[in-house]
């Protein structure tokens, strides 16, 4: 009864949030250059990107269109690898000058002591670094023999800072699946306080590689692992907000599933496109900062993000959990958008509860 009431209230909460669509979280794809060549990359980034880094001034012009930014408004620098930008600290300071906060998603390869200090000096407030396994499995996925050695230094530095709101993310795949307990112990030993686990989206380089994807049984085991880890002390473990996980909703995250793409989350992509999370199909772009007023686009467009009834198609059409799920994560709608790419809930239902 209480669970049902909470579900209904949460649906109302989502409606209210959607109606008001306050912009809290803005991704800036500031570069698509990358120093790694990860097997699972969804963005097809490369060392020699087709695109030049977006000039800071172009981004700031778009940022300055935002009227009365919300209290916790954060710009999240992403890529590619943001640390390849030589002006990253200048970017951060310019964002802070506007009374906004900034954070960064990084592979950690270039995050050494000097960079740690210069980023803190520039007002970095939150940081996410990817660790995709113990040494061999991390280096395999990251396609680089030194990657683990470097990320080990990076997470040690980041975890040592009481200023940074820092977490580690791990893309769970067939190679690192059996190491999860060891990875958890390793992160605790490094002083990491928060760990988010993902599965890999079948897009970009990953889609043809079977080793990237867990079986349905493994996926359930992953939910059990996260659920069990959340009863322990030492590190806050959670499943990412990538999708609706039915019976595990209250066990693997702090809050129920709510894909906020286009509702509270916007983005400015490398070519100036205005969208939501960077891994969303680029045909969903709502405008371009080189032609449109960014905030005006945020205020008046994004219909497909804020009214998701169009996702009630394919396997979602008859789903009785649709009200709670609403088509899963927006980034699971690609190509012709006739069917959701992955249904976590269906995967769980296919397996028997042990």
């Amino acid at each position: 009864m209480v669970t049902m009431l909470k579900q209904v209230l949460f649906q109302e909460f989502k409606k209210s949030e959607t109606k008001h669509h306050e912009l809290n979280y803005l991704f800036w794809e500031c570069t698509t250059r990358c120093n790694l060549n990860c097997r699972h990359c969804g963005s097809d980034c490369s060392k020699d990107s087709f695109y030049k880094d977006m000039p800071l001034d172009d981004f700031l012009k778009a940022l300055d269109t935002i009227e009365s930014p919300s209290e916790n408004f954060t710009v999240v620098l992403t890529g590619g690898e943001p640390l390849l930008r030589k002006d990253i600290e200048i970017c951060g300071r310019e964002i802070r000058k506007r009374g906004m906060r900034w954070s960064m998603v990084s592979n950690g390869y270039l995050y050494d002591n000097e960079k740690h200090i210069s980023l803190l000096n520039a007002g970095l407030g939150a940081l996410t670094i990817s660790v995709d396994g113990l040494e061999n499995s991390h280096n395999w996925l990251r396609n680089n023999d030194k990657s683990f050695e470097r990320v080990d230094i990076a997470i040690g530095l980041a975890a040592s800072s009481s200023r940074l709101n820092f977490d580690v993310v791990t893309c769970v795949n067939k190679r690192n699946f059996h190491e999860l307990e060891e990875i958890r112990e390793y992160l605790i030993q490094k002083g990491v306080k928060a760990w988010r686990l993902f599965t890999i989206v079948p897009i970009g380089r990953a889609k043809e590689d079977e080793e990237m994807f867990l079986t349905d049984n493994q996926f359930r085991e992953l939910m059990d692992f996260i659920s069990e880890s959340r009863t322990r002390k030492g590190i806050d473990v959670k499943f990412s907000c990538e999708g609706f996980v039915g019976e595990y909703e209250s066990k693997v995250r702090d809050s129920n599933f709510f894909c906020r793409a286009g509702i509270n989350i916007g983005s400015i992509l490398i070519d100036g496109s205005i969208s939501a999370c960077p891994n969303i199909d680029r045909t969903f772009a709502q405008g371009n900062i080189y032609a449109d007023n960014f905030f005006s686009v945020w205020q008046t467009k994004y219909e497909l993000f804020r009214d998701r009834s169009w996702t009630k198609t394919g396997k979602c059409a008859e789903c009785k959990d649709y009200k709670d799920c609403q088509g899963n994560g927006f980034h699971y709608w690609h190509g012709e958008k006739k069917n959701v790419l992955v249904c976590h809930n269906e995967r769980l239902k296919k397996t028997t509860n042990r």
């Binding site: 909460f13 200090i117 407030g125 980034h331």
Partner: protein, 128 residues
């Protein structure tokens, strides 16, 4: 304002205050802005001229920066009670030798509560 109340009531009834603290699935955690901006200028007490290359650091923390050619410095640091800021002449005799100086900041609550809490320091160093 009205909408904020409605939001908080519904979110609270869901028993998930966490509902307001979210992160995009491929993004970072939210930053709660627990820092302040320290900026200022270092000059020679004897000549009044700005001093370049003075190391400005926070006691017991890893952070530091150096003054530029105008003696200026600027960095964000975690909000802590009465931080000690250290000024150290690290280039020794290269531009005259200056005495080191420590300053304990007493920051008013009213400053801490502002949107962009900032402390400006005018520092004078004596010749050694």
């Amino acid at each position: 304002m009205k909408r904020d109340w409605k939001r908080k009531i519904i979110g609270g009834l869901c028993l998930t205050s966490i509902a307001f603290v979210f992160q995009a699935c491929y993004g970072t955690p939210q930053d709660f802005g627990n820092d302040l901006l320290i900026e200022g200028q270092v000059k020679s007490k004897n000549t009044g001229l700005p001093i370049k290359g003075i190391k400005v650091s926070v006691a017991d923390k890893v952070q530091y920066t150096n003054t530029d050619e105008n003696g200026k410095f600027s960095f964000y640091m975690e909000k802590i009670q009465n931080p000690k800021i250290k000024f150290t002449d690290v280039d020794s005799t290269q531009n005259i030798l200056f005495s080191n100086k420590d300053t304990i900041l007493v920051i008013k609550d009213s400053v801490m509560r502002t949107l962009k809490p900032t402390v400006y320091l005018n520092i004078e160093l004596e010749n050694k």
